[in-house]
C-alpha cells in the first residue's frame, strides 16, 4: 500500500537522479561501453578456459579411439597384445602383435631410472635443506634449472657418443641397451625429483626438527626419524612425477636402447620401449594398416599409463593434505 502510494507521488528531482545514477542499465552510452568491455573480457577469459578443456578431452578421446582400432577392426586380441612376446607386425604373411617386451622395456627403464635417480635426488635435496641451509639452495637451484633446460635430444646425444661407447669398450656387449637407457633417463629425471623433494623438505615445520635436536638427536637421526617420514608423501609424489617423465621419454631413450623387441635378460642387452617403437615406425607405416594401428595401440598404453601416474599423484597429494 505504502509502496504504491510512494510510486504515485512524483519523485523529487534530486532523488530520482541518484536513483538514475545508481540503478543498472541506465541508458547512458558511456555505461554501455563500460559494461560491454567488461563482458568482452569475461568471454575472452572463458574461451581460454574452454579451449583447455577441449584440448584435453579431444586429445584423450581421439587417441583412445585410434588406439582401439587394432582390436576392433584388425582382430587383434588385447590379451595377446599385452602379454605375448611375438611382436612382428611387419610380417607380410603372419603378422603377430605380442607387445609384452615393449611394455616390459618401458617399465624396466622407468624403474631402473627411478632407482638410480631417487637416492641422488633426495640426497641433494637434503643437502640443500638440512646440511648447507644457508647457501645450498642458492647454489644448487641453478644446477637443477640447467639440467631441466637441457633438451632430451642432447641427453640422447651424450648417451650415444659418450655412454654407449664407454660401455662397449668395458664389456663384451655392443653398448646399446637397458644400461645406457637407465643412465640417460636417470639423469633426465634427477632435476624433477630433486626440486620437488627440496620443496617438500623446505615445508617441514622447523619446530618438528628443533624438537628432535633438543632431545639430543644427531642430524642423521633427525633426518631419518623425523624429516623423511614427515615428508614421505611429498617425496613419493616427487618420485612418481620423475617416473612419469621417464615413462614418456622418447628420443633420448631411442638413441641408446638398441630397439630390439625381445625381453632383455641383463642390463647390457638391448631392449625397446613404447616410445622408441612408436618413434621408429610411426612415420613409415601406411596409415590404416594393422601395423600402423598396432603402433597407435602402443600409444594408447602410453596414454593410459600417463593417466595412471596422474591418479597416483592425486592420491598421494590427497593423503598429504589429509595428514
Amino acid at each position: 500500500m505504502t509502496l504504491n502510494k510512494e510510486g504515485m507521488t512524483p519523485l523529487p528531482i534530486e532523488q530520482s537522479s541518484t536513483r538514475e545514477r545508481l540503478i543498472k542499465k541506465s541508458p547512458s552510452v558511456k555505461g554501455f561501453f563500460k559494461r560491454e568491455s567488461e563482458l568482452r573480457g569475461k568471454w575472452l577469459i572463458y574461451c581460454g578456459a574452454l579451449i583447455i578443456i577441449i584440448a584435453t578431452v579431444s586429445l584423450t578421446l581421439f587417441l583412445v579411439w585410434q588406439g582401439l582400432r587394432v582390436f576392433l577392426f584388425d582382430g587383434v586380441n588385447p590379451i595377446h597384445f599385452l602379454f605375448r612376446s611375438d611382436w612382428n607386425p611387419g610380417d607380410a604373411k603372419h603378422p603377430t602383435y605380442g607387445a609384452f617386451p615393449i611394455i616390459f622395456g618401458s617399465f624396466a627403464v622407468t624403474a631402473l631410472a627411478a632407482i638410480v635417480a631417487t637416492p641422488i635426488s633426495i640426497g641433494t635435496a637434503l643437502f640443500m635443506t638440512e646440511i648447507a641451509k644457508k647457501w645450498g639452495d642458492k647454489a644448487l637451484r641453478p644446477v637443477i634449472e640447467i639440467l631441466v633446460g637441457i633438451p632430451s635430444v642432447v641427453y640422447g646425444l651424450i648417451g650415444l657418443t659418450l655412454i654407449v661407447p664407454f660401455i662397449a669398450n668395458h664389456s663384451d656387449s655392443i653398448g646399446y641397451g637397458l644400461l645406457p637407457g637407465m643412465i640417460v633417463v636417470g639423469m633426465m629425471i634427477l632435476p624433477t625429483i630433486t626440486s620437488i623433494a627440496a620443496d617438500a623438505l623446505h615445508s617441514i615445520p622447523n619446530e618438528l626438527k628443533n624438537a628432535s635436536y633438543a632431545l639430543g638427536a644427531t642430524r642423521w637421526q633427525t633426518i631419518a626419524k623425523v624429516i623423511l617420514p614427515a615428508a614421505l608423501p611429498s617425496l613419493l609424489t616427487a618420485v612418481v612425477l620423475g617416473m612419469a617423465r621417464a615413462f614418456g621419454e622418447a628420443l633420448a631413450v631411442q638413441m641408446v636402447i638398441g630397439n630390439v623387441t625381445t625381453i632383455p635378460h641383463s642390463l647390457l642387452e638391448p631392449a625397446s620401449t613404447l616410445t622408441t617403437i612408436i618413434t621408429l615406425h610411426m612415420g613409415n607405416t601406411t596409415t590404416g594398416s594393422p601395423f600402423n594401428h598396432a603402433l597407435w595401440a602402443l600409444g594408447l598404453v602410453l596414454l593410459t599409463m600417463s593417466y595412471i601416474f596422474i591418479l597416483i599423484i592425486r592420491y598421494l597429494s590427497r593423503r598429504r593434505t589429509l595428514s
Partner: protein, 270 residues
C-alpha cells in the same frame, strides 16, 4: 577552464539541497556463513560530517563499513540483510550498479595500497574506466586538483611519473585518498586509514579529513580514541557485532549512557 569544469560537474554531482542524513541504515545483519558478524544495526549518517566507528577489533566495524559500498559482495558466503538507504535509494537492491555506487561512495583502506604504477596513473586509472574524461588536459587538471585536495601536490608535483611505490607510507595513503577524491564521490569510507602511519602523517590525514568534510560525508573506522575525539562529529560504538551506542562526540565522551561505552572509552578494554 577549471571554473567551467567545476560548473559542469557540479551540476551532475552537487545538485543536492542540504539534507540531514545521507545514509540510513536499518536493521542491518551481516553473516559470513554461519558467523553473525553484524547484528541488527540501525544508524543514520549525517551529511557533511565525520562519523567515527569505534570498538574493539573483531567487532564488525570493517564489515559494516564495507557493506555500504558493497565490498563484501565478492567474499564467498557473505550475506547481507536489512536495508541501507543512500539518498533514498536502497543500496542492497539487485539493480544497483555497483560500479556507479562505488564511484559515489569511495573507500580508503587500512594499509596504503597504491597501484604499482606512476603517481599520475594511480589517479587516472579509475577516471579512465568511468569514462569521465579522455582529454589529456582535463585528466591532468583532475590529477592536480585531487592531489591538492589530498595535500600531496606540493610534494609530488615534480615527479608525477615516478612510481607510487617510491612514496613514503603517509604519502601513499594520501595518494589513495586523492585517487578516491578524483572521482568526486559524495561519501568517503575510511577503514583505519592511519593505523599503519607515523604520528606526523596521521596528523596530516586528520587535518585533511576535517577540511574535506565541508564537501564530503566521511565515515571513518578508528581504533584510536583520541583520534575519534579530535575529528569526529558523531561516534558509533560497536561491540561484538552490535551497535551499543551512538551520538554526538561530546555526549559520547562526556555522558555515555551505556556502561560498556564508558569503560571502552576510558580504555578499560580494547
Amino acid at each position: 577552464m577549471v571554473f567551467v569544469l567545476e560548473q559542469q560537474e557540479g551540476k551532475e554531482l552537487r545538485e543536492l539541497e542540504p539534507k540531514e542524513h545521507i545514509l540510513n541504515i536499518k536493521q542491518l545483519d551481516i553473516y559470513y556463513g554461519n558467523d553473525h558478524a553484524v547484528k541488527d544495526i540501525s544508524l543514520d549518517i549525517e551529511k557533511n560530517a565525520i562519523t567515527a566507528l569505534i570498538g574493539p577489533s573483531g567487532c564488525g566495524k570493517s564489515t559494516f563499513l564495507r557493506a555500504i559500498n558493497r565490498m563484501n559482495d565478492r567474499i564467498p558466503g557473505a550475506r547481507c540483510e536489512g536495508s541501507i538507504l543512500y539518498d533514498g535509494v536502497s543500496l542492497l537492491d539487485k539493480e544497483i550498479d555497483i560500479s556507479a555506487l562505488r564511484k559515489e561512495i569511495g573507500m580508503v583502506f587500512q594499509k596504503p595500497n597504491p597501484f604499482p604504477k606512476s603517481i599520475k596513473d594511480n589517479i587516472t586509472h579509475a577516471l579512465k574506466f568511468h569514462g569521465i574524461t579522455k582529454n589529456k588536459k582535463r585528466l591532468k587538471e583532475r590529477v592536480k586538483e585531487s592531489l591538492q585536495q589530498a595535500a600531496l601536490w606540493d610534494e609530488v608535483s615534480d615527479r608525477l611519473d615516478a612510481s607510487a611505490l617510491s612514496l613514503s607510507g603517509g604519502q601513499q595513503q594520501r595518494l589513495c585518498l586523492a585517487r578516491t577524491l578524483a572521482l568526486r564521490p559524495k561519501v568517503i569510507l575510511l577503514d583505519e586509514p592511519t593505523s599503519a602511519l607515523d604520528p606526523i602523517s596521521t596528523g596530516k590525514i586528520e587535518s585533511l579529513l576535517m577540511k574535506l568534510k565541508k564537501e564530503y560525508t566521511i565515515v571513518v573506522v578508528t581504533h584510536n580514541m583520541q583520534q575519534a575525539a579530535r575529528i569526529a562529529d558523531h561516534i558509533a560504538f560497536f561491540y561484538q557485532g552490535e551497535l551499543v551506542e551512538q551520538g554526538k562526540t561530546e555526549q559520547m565522551f562526556n555522558h555515555p549512557t551505556e556502561k560498556r561505552t564508558a569503560s571502552y572509552i576510558s580504555g578499560q578494554f580494547s
